[in-house]
Amino acid sequence: MNWLLDLTPDEWNAVRLSIKVATVAMVASLPPGILIALVLARGQFWGKTLLNGLVHLPLILPPVVIGYLLLLSFGRRGPVGAFLAEHFGIVFSFRWTGAALACAVMGFPLMVRAIRLSIEAVDRRIEAAAGTLGANPLWVFATITLPLILPGLITGAILSFAKAMGEFGATITFVSNIPNQTQTLPSAIYTFTQVPGGDAGAFRLTLISIVISMAALVASEVLARRVGRRMDIE
């Protein structure tokens, strides 16, 4: 069993990087995810179908296409990338931040879907009741809506995390596969499969990826159940 835990420094870095990228992708997409889900669940406006389609694009397009689009727009010479680099010093291309961006974009539709469903399940009459008790719309959201959609938020966050852990196509297209910089678990596994004698390494990382993803899933289950029990919703 020793060979299982005996990871090379590069492999360890891939594991650490993957967890970092997935965590940042998940946390960073939560606020816009909630906002977009809210708009899609409750908003009535022209172009809603368009926005919905746009959000779902990463789900239906090949990941390579998303990666390439990111490269075009967020690359150093892309319009958004050049602007961010010039004014804020934020660079995405060939950095781990780029990997996080690619993962966030790919996981976004899953997150928005989960949150949107839970928002649609909230009884708006309960929110109206909070309004008659003196709470303004912002307070109603913070004290009523947000706690009620917590299980959906957790599900959405975990889906985004799990998607990020497994993201390969968009990441490798956008930020390439540089060991210790942009090489996430899937990229590292891919690299192992491309070299002779890499089977053991690929297998080790595969097992690790399974463990991390399962752990995230179990953690979300436990968390959601605890929240559900605390709320005791009929």
Binding site: R125, A128, G131, T132, L133, A135, W139, L148, I233, E234
Partner: protein, 370 residues
């Protein structure tokens, strides 16, 4: 405290066009379902924005479409109790109760938590979750939650409609205490004649989105034509009385009213306490001379002042008994046999046992009845 409503509003094919003013302690908005009463109360609460019109409460203009004024619901300080409690499922009963307090300026908080908890008898429930409460308990907590926001006006939208008879009987006394022990004016939506007769000081009758009548409860309850057909039998005189004495030997309580003494099954209230009773028109018999050899104990002397055809073979006869009008519902055949006509002196006969608890309630102090 006066509530002034003058609005017109369109909801699809349905049009609400109502105008009323009420200064009563408990104003009932009464009418069959679909008459627009819930729409009206939602407008007072600020949950619906009327197309056109004006709403005022306590001299404060809440809505004035001509002036473009619409106070949002969270700034109205109007409490609302919904038919379906609408408690916050993720909070304990105690947190539900405290919710409105956060948003009430300290200087305007008049409701005291322990007093409200006592008034509604919800002390043992404080740590529970709403999902673990019975329907009646939920509704009491919902009333407490609305009260603890220290509202200037309390709206109740059919708070008993979704409960069974036993639960209704459990909550009604609390609403009576609310009406009598707090100073908050209440607007109460109901389609039940017995609830309105029991609770209201004033009634606004709605039919098809319009106000059909508006006035003190006693006067409205005598107009059987205003009541829905299936509830006509429930209509009748509403008398405000006081307990004169108890008759422990026969298990009866004697009430004094302007119409005369009325014997009802024994009540557990002190002598002198105000009691409101409803004498249903269908429970009243008419005799043309002082009856003897009759089991019924309540015999009220009076003069026939109104006669109106009822549905089917029935005639509705109003008898003025020293200033209080008692309604009787008899058949046209009996009316002809007895040769009843306006101005004739008769005796209204009511059996003591017809006063079941649904017909008696803690009375309003007489002044409130206008």
């Amino acid at each position: 405290m006066t509530v002034v409503v003058d609005i017109s509003h369109r909801l699809g094919d349905f049009e609400v066009d109502a105008r009323f003013e009420s200064a009563g302690r408990l104003t009932a908005l009464f009418g069959p379902s679909g008459s627009g009463k819930t729409t009206l109360i939602n407008m007072i609460a600020g949950l619906i924005r009327p197309d056109k019109g004006r709403i005022e409460a306590d001299g404060r203009v809440l809505v004035d479409t001509d002036a473009g004024r619409f106070v949002p619901k969270h700034k109205r300080r109007i409490g609302m109790v919904f038919q379906d409690a609408r408690l916050f499922p993720h909070m304990s009963v105690a947190s539900n109760l405290r919710y409105g307090r956060w948003f009430t300026p300290t200087a305007e908080r008049y409701a005291d938590i322990s007093a409200v908890v006592d008034l509604l008898g919800i002390g043992p429930l404080l740590d529970r979750r709403p999902a673990k409460l019975s329907g009646g308990e939920k509704q009491r907590v919902a009333i407490g939650r609305a009260l603890l926001a220290s509202p200037k006006l309390l709206l109740m939208d059919e708070p008993l409609a979704s409960l069974d008879e036993a639960r209704k009987a459990e909550i009604l006394p609390y609403i009576e205490r609310l009406r009598d022990e707090t100073k908050i004016p209440i607007v109460y939506v109901s389609h039940s004649v017995s609830e309105v007769a029991r609770l209201a000081s004033n009634v606004v009758v709605l039919a098809q989105g319009k106000v059909a009548a508006c006035g003190p409860t006693g006067a409205i309850m005598q107009r059987l034509d205003l009541l829905p057909a299936e509830e006509r039998g429930e209509g009748g005189a509403v008398l405000d009385t006081a307990v004169l004495r108890h008759d422990d030997v026969f298990g009866m309580t004697v009430l004094g009213s302007v119409a005369g003494e009325i014997r009802v099954p024994l009540l557990a209230v002190p002598v002198g306490a105000p009691m409101r009773i409803r004498i249903r028109a269908r429970d009243v018999m008419i005799a043309t001379e002082q009856p003897t050899g009759l089991s019924a104990l309540n015999i009220l002397q009076g003069t026939i002042v109104t006669m109106a055809p009822g549905e089917g073979p029935a005639v509705e006869i109003g008898i003025d008994c020293h200033g209080a009008t008692v309604l009787a519902r008899i058949t046209e055949q009996s009316r002809q046999t007895l040769k009843l006509r306006l101005g004739r002196e008769v005796y209204a006969v009511v059996k003591t046992v017809s006063f079941d608890p649904a017909n008696m309630s803690a009375g309003l102090p007489v002044e409130a009845d206008g």
